[in-house]
Symmetry: C2
Subunit: 107 residues, 2 copies
DNA sequence: TTCACATACTTCGCCGGACGATATATCGTC
DNA sequence: GACGATATATCGTCCGGCGAAGTATGTGAA
């Protein structure tokens, strides 16, 4: 699972949201680091819905503009939790081997 | 940075290694989870060398078979450490919001 | 001895995902 | 009226992952 995909799911942990809201949440949650490109987002949304990790929660029309809300499915929830564990484990492969004295210094 | 790329760099934290050795180390370090495909590896090796994150350490001929050893550059070392920190932070976005009662259960 | 397997590197081609650009539409602000 | 934020959709490109095939040698088993 790629980082953009992961942050889409993570954003939905807070509850259903629509595309633009997901972009904003992902940016917040990552401290401004992750900025989902629109092409990435809508592509990911279609793919995740096809994989059953998210589902359309409801569709609203707000001031003439359509809004499609997505929510995490059970599969999506467990997938993002599993993914977080995987990343933590992967991070430890490096952080567990680096002594404070190293940093950018020699081996 | 993708996972395969990350594990290539992580494998080189233990010291210089050649292609096949990197595949084996990555598999060890990830507890058998990460299996670098050869096409992925050699593509990544070229790319990382081009980006200056790794460099050819030496080339040997062992029993008629060529072996090209790569080592991490300073840039590569700091990049993989930075990447590990990034993954840890990303993981916390999810793990920090999940209460023990949740798991695969509802919100 | 022959066959399979592990070691070891290279190249090719497909596919999927990331992402910028573009188009469309409304509302509020300057 | 122009611009920026909100909001969605689609298209095309580029890059990376990865399996497959090709080449070559040593080892151990059948």
């Amino acid at each position: 699972m790629s980082e953009p995909t992961y942050f889409v799911l993570a954003a939905l942990l807070d509850g259903p949201s629509h595309g633009y809201g997901i972009i904003k949440r992902a940016e917040e949650q990552s401290g401004g680091r992750v900025r989902l490109a629109v092409g990435t987002l809508y592509g990911a949304l279609d793919r995740l819905a096809g994989d059953g990790l998210i589902a359309v929660d409801r569709e609203e029309t707000v001031q003439g503009r359509p809004r499609r809300y997505y929510r995490l499915t059970e599969d999506g929830r467990s997938a993002v939790i599993r993914e977080a564990a995987r990343m933590e484990q992967a991070a430890r492969v490096v952080t567990g081997r680096i002594t404070p004295a190293m940093g950018t210094a020699q081996a």
